[in-house]
Symmetry: C2
Subunit: 193 residues, 2 copies
DNA sequence: AGACCGATGTCAGTGACTGTCATCAACGTA
DNA sequence: TACGTTGATGACAGTCACTGACATCGGTCT
């Protein structure tokens, strides 16, 4: 057995989530989180860059998953279709954990600092998607737009999914939102020259 | 003459921008900003909620402008068209100050904290747009999507505009990006059921 | 004159985050 | 077996963003 209890990182993550839910994000100090995990404040910052990051480390694997899905899409697919497939794949992963997503979401919704972090994580995903599209030969305005728009669709679908228990599964909501996107952008008056 | 030099807020803003450019955002302390403006640190925080906000207070008027443009759009216009008009209007406003936009952008690009703030400001604009659309009778998935997608288009156009001096005016880039959006989302394989 | 107001200064905090050095079990190696 | 190395942690001091409370003092109103 090691010198310390195993899984320090996991204990910190768990303690942080609990405290953020119990008292709110701002009312929780890093020292309290570390204390509940049986560690010191300094150690917290060795595992997470800052107090917010403990809620967002999962976005790394998410990014890899998205990128892989775009890389694996058939050549014949249109760019937006590649993105749609990737977003779908992620949606199916998250679809399992609706309750835990809702808990996490309630914490984030209550604090603007956390919302900022969430947005930059999404922007990172979008940039990764756009880069992958470019590597597959999609030229630039289209690549950025497809990635950006695809993530916007995901965002809208995800919000409906966590916000209303009466809604169907995430996968289906994403599909519906992509259809809605098509309807919205096909507005006959879009050409305004 | 008043007891103090006038325009404290403006002096703080000016001093902050200068210092952020000279030394970088992180290397600048609020005390230094206040000192250059002939004020104290405490006074800085009376004018700006935090060290970043000094770069972003302009987004308030921007929001009002966007919302007004959507409110003034003709009833016959499709939702995405209302958003496109609003974004165009804003684009024409900013189009004048390309150099100052570039300076500001270089500061923001160099610091993730500032990028986070920028993103949440954009999200606020998107939410305001969506709310205005709803008030005009657009139902919800469509309203959110039109707002979100419209701002994504703006973002892409804006990035090209500030990033490459060889690009045409912002107004034209926004028009082109909306066209590109239409092309991208019209991909024949979008229906993936 | 005197009461009040509003912008600023002063000062003493709290808490996030960092740099640095010490500790000590585990592990490899002579 | 002894010994050097490594890696995760603790201890501690420090910086800086941000806040609350109270003092100051021209300008303004009555």
């Amino acid at each position: 057995m090691g010198r310390w209890e195993p899984n320090a990182r996991g204990r910190l993550e768990q303690a942080a989530l609990e405290l953020y839910i119990e008292r709110g994000y701002e009312q929780t100090t890093v020292a309290e989180i570390a204390g509940r995990a049986g560690l010191t404040e300094r150690t917290f910052f060795r595992h997470f860059a800052d107090k917010r990051e403990v809620l967002f480390w999962g976005s790394g694997p998410l990014r890899e998953h998205l990128v892989a899905a775009v890389e694996d899409a058939p050549d014949a697919a249109a760019p937006i279709e590649m993105v749609a497939r990737a977003v779908q794949a992620v949606g199916e992963l998250m679809g399992e954990r609706r309750e835990s997503a809702r808990r996490r979401r309630s914490v984030i919704d209550a604090n603007p600092e956390l919302q900022e972090r969430e947005l930059i994580k999404l922007a990172t995903l979008s940039a990764a998607l756009a880069g992958t599209l470019r590597r597959r030969g999609v030229t630039d305005p289209a690549a950025s737009l497809a990635a950006e728009v695809g993530l916007a669709v995901f965002k809208v679908a995800f919000e409906r999914w966590v916000g209303d228990p009466a809604q169907p599964g995430l996968s289906q909501l994403i599909r519906e939102s992509f259809d809605e996107l098509k309807a919205v952008t096909a507005g006959s008056r879009l050409q305004q020259r």
